[in-house]
Amino acid sequence: MSSHQTPAAGSQTCGSSEHTLHRRLFLQGSMAAGCASVASYAGLFSIPALAEQTRREGRKCILLWLCGAPSQFETWDPKPGTATGGPFSAIDTTLPGIHVSQLMPRCATIMDKLAVIRSMKTEPSEHFQAIDLMTRGEKPRPPFTRPLLGSVVAEQLGQLDSPVPQFVLLDPCPEGNEFKAFKAGNWAGWLGAEYGPVRAGGEYSIPDILRPETISETDHSDREALRRFFSRKYENEQRSEAAASYNAAFERVKGLMSCAPLFDLEQLPEADRQRYGPGAFAQHALQARHLIENGSTFVMVANGMPWDNHVFQHEMHQMLVPELDNVLYQLVTDLEERGLLDDTLVIAMGEFGRTPWLNEARGRDHYPKAWSMAMAGGGIRGGVVHGATDELGKDVSDDPVDNRSLFATIFTALGISPDESYDLPDLPTFFRVEGDATPLADLLV
């Protein structure tokens, strides 16, 4: 990787000098005050001009993407004392009669804010197909590629002329088996590359987001205008989609550079960083909150593919689940404290569940037949547990939910119609959610 300064170290962190000035004053002011409240911190680290310009009434969404697929038994659907239940016990929650795994003590205290589906039932049992299914909502129907949930939400609810990226993927891990293959694919599908995510992560910042010191701001912008003149000319003369995508990427450079501070995790309050805990997943969840507060519409937080525990499932989950428990708890309570929860949907899910039985390596394998996921806020009713599995968790016993009803529910909660149709040349009509799936009424506010 190239070395780059953190935005904090640069003298001009934002495109406009007015902003720089504003920010400096704010810093002085807060230091003089000595103890800034959480609320004023939020203002401090946002970019006032941008935030006002881009904040809209529309809903937003954070997807905690638990790639590799967590076990339902060690999270939302414990079966203690059964042959399949594993070594962990179940604990009481704020909902009478509802238990979660002992590995989730914090979420147990906010179950009244969460909606849990225990009856997910989907088809693909391989990561690549399942990741594709659960991030797009539908199996592939060639030759057109369905856009990711994040792309649809960014297109429907986002403000494309905003300099703040509307769809951000925070994923520090360039590897991750099938997730890596998935990440190399076509994200935005038929919506076009401009609805694809801005990817950040790793060092928590975006590489090359700062202007080189050797080039003045005017020159930087003049040469880009010249580039655009030539490149657009080529794009138009060639009717080139490849060039259109290429030019669209450059169009986003200036805006992104102006919001470099948003991607600098170092600037977030130390207390917040402590609360979310160490590790990329936790820190990125905090950054997701920060991005949503400052005008992003959809943030997907991933961390490679850590949940695929074919080996030593219990030991691995004993590390992973408590982290998820804390992160989800912090995120939901933070959003609520800031008055953002009603308009921000938080989704925590992977691509399927894990087998009730253990394999020879004491791992749980892939299991799409009966699994769990959780949501909160943003049009979703809290304190609901939808569906159930049988005694050993081998199958769904009540109200099976497939990818289509889940996506119909998510879209409806966000205020996006699931019935929208897309007519593409010479192809059968595509629907935003296929098969007339109806949203789960008990989950909607």
Partner: protein
Amino acid sequence: MMRILPAAIALLCIVGVAVDASLAADLPVGQIDRFIEQKWQQADVQPAEPISDSRFVRRLYLDLVGRIPTPQERETFLADQRPDKREHLVDLLLGSEDHVVHFADLFDTLLMGRGSDRDYCNRREHQWRSWLEQAFRENRPWDEVVQEILLARPASPDERGTVWFLYERENDHQKIAEAVAPAFFGIRIECAQCHDHMLAGEIEQRHYWGLVAFFNRSENAKTENGPRVKESAIGGFSEFAKLSGESTPNLLTFFGADVVDEPRPDADQKQEDLPELYVEAALKGEPQVPKFSRREQFVSHVANGHPLIARAFVNRMWAILLGRGIVHPFDEMDSTHEPSHPELLDWLAQDFRDSGHDIRRLIRMIVLSRHYALDSRRPEGIDDPALFAWSLERPLTAEQLARSMQVALHGSFRNDHPLFRQLRETLPDVLPETVGTGVDAALFLSNNPAVNTFIAESDEPSHLIPRIQQLDTPAEQVTALIVTLFGRPPADDEIERIAGFVATAEPGSQARSQRWQHVVWALLTSAEFRFNH
């Protein structure tokens, strides 16, 4: 290595044409044209117009030698009056050392994947890279190349690079299997690890574990001759579990081949690793060789004559030169991905086998066919790229870009320039599945020191930016610049735009030079330079 271009041209002429010119005339290029044209007629489409020589020369240089032509190379071709000058250029380029290096770049990435600096360093140090180059330099039959890589048992010190395909995968036998299948057979088998392929049912779970078994007695070893992949005569028997929980033994088999017989010990029977199970290697210092070698079995019973090896190669070469495979994606040649031109694919694979897996013959046929030289502007009303009715734009690979930027600004290039490493990290794809550009690449090209420093330091008197400033008029200056970078004359509005931009700084001043640097940046990062079109 510094290349002085005029000398290089003279050299290429001698080597290339004399040896190979006669071959081009005998090629059944018309056969490819007929298959493609037939499909146009069926679909009732009018293909794009043929391109001019001036566009052909850029496309061909990028495809065959991995860089744009210099203005002199371009002029030489345009001035050539021979009716078969395109054939001559193809032969000239195929016979050049630049072709060898470019194809080694491509196949290193396709077979090994992109890697870290250390990986690239190791690939050179352990002669994988030079062995690959030698294979293209000698135009070795592809099936032999494949078999040597899979056997990984060098018969002479010159062949020690053959071990690196397996060696770099560090005893991870699943990783080896998952690399062998797409690299040589054009299929992806990852999905079959846990069950038969969900969509392409012919790829079964037993094929995945069978392919693993052919390699699971192999182990990296450091010998006095260097890194080697030794092989045990025993072990490697395991069972794989189906989703239902039932266990199946991993027999020696692979997609499209019978099971290779091998006595299988009972579960409780312990095998002993006895000396009589091995023979000494022919070369001193090489690891001993098991009498029953699974790798050898794979080469002789599966790889040897396997129909997918030729099919996968011609399909991939088609994708390299035309932007898309006859089967797309090029490495998923299974029942869910039908070829767009089934008869053409059969014919190409057959011709490739009949010719003794002659790689250059295949390349020649493709680049001399009619549809290779079509305009890249998509005709109105046609939207199916699988018709090959217009030329598909392809982004330059990191290496093509690193070399072309140097050729543009310096008139020559070094293959060890830091740009290679820097661009490889950000623009990693050879044959990307989609041609979308991420904003990370745009940020890199805008702000990373790599490209900016390269332009700023291209300030020697022989370099382009200082040279054009010696020219008299803005029109001459801009013309020299656009011809060098884009291989075409500038339009009036382009001259105006650039001249207007540089005119705001005093002639001869430092600021003026910087203006030109900005212009060069704008052109090098514009789509016209970024794509092969």
